[in-house]
């Protein structure tokens, strides 16, 4: 069972209060992008065993989208943070580095 801290309303929400929203930090391939870039945006996803960044919605609570960093192998949660950011904040990265030295995910490390 996954319990994630909602950074908007400040409660520890159970998995059943949440709705999973897939991979975080996707960048939309915009007008004029090549077909390959668009295919990447639509279909190509990270599928790591280990550190992963995801979108979650506090569906039964405040209704806000937030982002979470967790380990897909152990379900360990490194932290959650607000969605208004293009990359994980430094404290989240530090928390991951403390647990999983040398981690990388997409362009983040």
């Amino acid at each position: 069972m996954l319990t994630l801290h909602c950074p908007y309303c400040g409660v520890d929400a159970d998995e059943t209060d949440l709705h999973a929203g897939g991979e975080a930090h996707l960048k939309r391939a915009s007008t004029g992008s090549s077909d390959d870039a668009f295919e990447d945006y639509l279909f190509m996803r990270e599928n790591p065993k280990g550190v992963h960044f995801e979108r979650w919605r506090h569906a039964y609570g405040c209704g806000k989208w937030f982002l979470a960093a967790r380990c897909t192998a152990t379900l360990q949660v490194f932290g959650t943070y607000r969605a208004q950011t293009h990359e994980p904040p430094q404290d989240i990265k530090d928390a991951i580095s403390a647990q999983r030295p040398g981690w990388s995910w997409g362009n983040f490390r």
Partner: protein, 188 residues
């Protein structure tokens, strides 16, 4: 005008913990910038309650304010004063971006009263209801059983639950069953 009736028309399941559908309640959902002083002042002047901080509810029996999300507050007023309250909100927030809607007939309010009211909810919701973690004034949106619900403690033995009207019967039966099944003793 039609005769307004609440979802379960005041149904009661009496017992050591009594479940009671609270009857008609005026509820207004207000979405706005909650840090705005005009928003705060209209909320407090309508209800006489202090503006709640994140995750809190300030309610007496008929009136109150519940913090629903960073940009939403639920205003509880007597049922027959909702239209007037909406007018006052519209006037006070005339030039502010906001949404105020009467949701009185879309919701039901159920009270859970009795010595182990806390456990009646704890059995149904994925929420830490330990006395160290949940106290009168705390407000939580979550779900009970299969349906969305919000609840807060009025006092140590009374919890108010708000759910959608369409699922009021399910929520009531669920709470009544949980109450009938008795005390667990986990928080004792």
């Amino acid at each position: 005008m039609s005769n307004a009736v609440s979802a379960l028309n005041g149904k009661v399941a009496a017992g050591e913990v009594t479940i009671r559908e609270a009857g008609l309640r005026g509820m207004i959902t207000l979405r706005a910038d909650l840090s705005d002083s005009k928003v705060k002042s209209i909320c407090t002047s309508l209800t006489g309650a202090a503006f709640p901080s994140s995750g809190q509810a300030n309610c007496d029996d008929a009136k109150g304010l519940c913090w629903m999300s960073p940009d939403e507050v639920l205003i509880l007023v007597p049922y027959d004063t909702v239209a007037d309250a909406l007018e006052q909100i519209a006037k006070a927030l005339k030039n502010k971006h906001h949404l105020a809607e009467n949701v009185s007939d879309a919701r039901a309010l159920i009270t859970v009263e009795g010595t182990f009211a806390r456990e009646v909810i704890a059995k149904l919701a994925p929420v830490d209801l330990h006395p160290d973690a949940f106290q009168p004034g705390d407000f939580r949106r979550s779900h009970i059983g299969q349906v969305a619900a919000a609840f807060w403690m009025r006092d140590q033995d009374t919890i108010a639950v708000i759910c959608f009207r369409s699922v009021a019967e399910y929520a009531f039966d669920l709470l009544a069953t949980s109450a009938k099944a008795g005390r667990v003793g986990f928080f004792a």
